[in-house]
Symmetry: C2
């Protein structure tokens, strides 16, 4: 019998963070594509757009006027998915098929910069550091509210990721419950920590650095890698070298190193197809439930949908929705490509 | 304190099939949309397309010629995600971060009809019955292969769902392992069956029929409903009234009733926005591992992405990818709309 070859043979890989598998079909990367292609938006945006509800000084849908902000600007989402009000509800314990939980929370929008025309990789380091400091402040500010046990910081970048406004911004959804995926991750991180007295990601990182097959960026305080179990074609994860539980534990040096890492990674992304690279990103860190969480190790996921070109994405559809996630190009090949690309943005070269 | 109102207050609902929650934000259904809109393809297709690799008599990418088929036509996918070959592999048991499994399987394409211009709701009942019989035959044929333990039947309909050819067709991915979601579902179904001696879906169905709030279609042998825990705006599930484990257990009456149900449901879908309604659908049923699986109860999921109009879809992005699935319109409202729509296709009225 022939030896298994992970560059060519279909196989499954295990994700220990959420206890799920992904199907990898490396040989399929070359199949032709006649399906849907996405619009590539290369329009040059102005620094200020009078019709943008996120630009400084403009009036939003609810009639409020944005201040003339000069760095970041945070406000409560005008169409929040979560509300703060506490309501009265009693679940009938026999109702196993209709289990319901009222959910309290706060949704905020975080504008990264007053400049309408920029994206993260095009901002200077000071601006990105301000974004990181804003995330720190928000995590603290929301986390200390009594009924808030989890603060989800994320960004949807690009129209293809459901982003409805190109002004550089992210969101924060803070809520009472741990969301499903966070709950699962916490379960697996706790189990590992109890058994080994170290965080799962500390040990994983050590082995990844030794193998050096999926590392994209490494600096003093952070590593960017394509997880062994990544599902999106160019998925990456930023992991702090120190096992800190939360963004507010960063030292000044770590804040500045994290900003540099964000700039370099997103510049590499834009350099893949010489286009503004869409993605959803989000930070996973300790819940804010007042308990100690040594099992949590700060990391940030990047899930970009593009596969073959600026206009052809990976569809997570029938098989993926019924069975499990599937990818064609291997994580090793993606990491090799991302590593080889310049970390200087193509527009500034 | 005000009473909880599920039509207006943010809440979470529990999905007992996969042990996950979904965040429901009913009040958010009215937020304006300035984001990406999808192309609506209203092009009229010819009955036969000489450039289509699925039409009868045409030559496919690998040089093979399709027969002049008259009802359904099944062939091994030319760009299969799975391969049959057995390879040699030994996992190092210490490698907890790099767990790998070679995976064997077979991917097939199922053309529903020789007619290039039709979709399921536009086909006559006999044609749809043939599709159901083909699924039965394939489930049996693939399932009896020694190394095949699971047969996933699914359809990606519409370019927006990654379908690369509008010729009416579905796919089958049959493989050695139970895919992640099937494994999870099996776990929860088994637990219920062991405890209650009945299938989870038998009891759920009984309660849904009593409540009659989320039922879309009911006939002698099948029910279509919007699950209490649905995540997609117009998600539905077809459930057999009899707790049969697999499609091959259908009686002749059930085959014909199932075909009618498929036709009516997909016609209703097209009638939502008077457009060919995209979705991914897939059948969940007993694994083919040779064991008895009384816990499995035949059901078929439909996951359509559209939300507000033929061109605006629901994006499952940042929060959903990091936290948990989120929906705006409630399952009850969607069910009410789907129920009220005619089950006769808008084009044939
Ligand atoms: O096999 P197809 O139709 O070319 O491919 C489509 O369905 C597959 C199974 O859901 C997905 O993995 C692909 O991303 C999608 O484009
Ligand atoms: O809040 P936004 O940017 O309008 O909405 C976007 O992000 C949300 C959170 O991931 C998603 O639920 C929406 O589907 C998406 O369009």
């Amino acid at each position: 019998m022939r030896e298994f070859n992970h560059n060519n043979d279909p196989h499954r890989r295990y994700n220990p963070l959420i206890n799920e598998w992904v199907l990898v079909s490396p040989h399929r990367a070359t199949r032709p594509w006649q399906g849907q292609t996405e619009a590539v938006n290369e329009e040059k945006r102005p620094e200020f757009d009078a019709t943008c509800y996120l630009c400084p000084g403009n009036v939003r849908a609810n009639g409020e006027q944005n201040p003339n902000y000069e760095s970041t600007f945070v406000f409560d989402n005008d169409f929040a998915a979560l509300k703060q009000e506490k309501v009265q509800f009693e679940q009938n314990p026999d109702d196993i098929f209709f289990k319901t939980q009222p959910e309290r929370g706060i949704s905020r929008v975080v504008c990264f910069s007053p400049r309408h025309d920029l994206t993260l990789p095009e901002m200077d380091l000071e601006t990105i550091e301000n974004v990181v400091k804003t995330w720190q402040f928000q995590y603290e500010d929301l986390g200390k509210i009594d009924f808030i046990n989890h603060v989800q910081i994320f960004e949807n970048k690009g129209a293809i990721m459901g982003c409805s406004n190109p002004h550089p911004h992210g969101q924060i959804w803070a809520q009472s419950s741990l969301p499903t995926l966070v709950q699962k991750t916490q379960h697996n991180l706790s189990e590992y920590f109890q058994k080994h007295g170290k965080t799962l990601l500390e040990d994983y990182l050590k082995q990844e650095l030794q193998k050096n097959e999926r590392i994209v960026i490494e600096n003093e305080h952070f590593v960017v890698l394509v997880p062994f179990w990544a599902i999106w074609p160019f998925e990456t994860m930023i992991v702090s070298k120190r096992p800190v539980s939360r963004i507010t534990d960063f030292t000044t040096d770590e804040v500045s190193d994290f900003a540099k890492t964000l700039k370099k990674l997103t510049a590499k992304y834009d350099n893949v197809f010489n286009t503004s690279f869409p993605y959803s990103s989000g930070i996973h860190q300790s819940p804010t439930d007042g308990k100690s969480h040594p099992e949590w190790h700060f990391h940030m996921h990047f899930y970009p949908p593009l596969l073959r070109s600026a206009s052809v994405k990976k569809f997570m559809v029938g098989y993926e929705m019924m069975g499990e996630s599937q990818r064609d190009i291997t994580p090793e090949k993606s990491a090799e490509l991302l590593k080889s690309l310049s970390d200087v943005h193509y527009k500034s070269r």
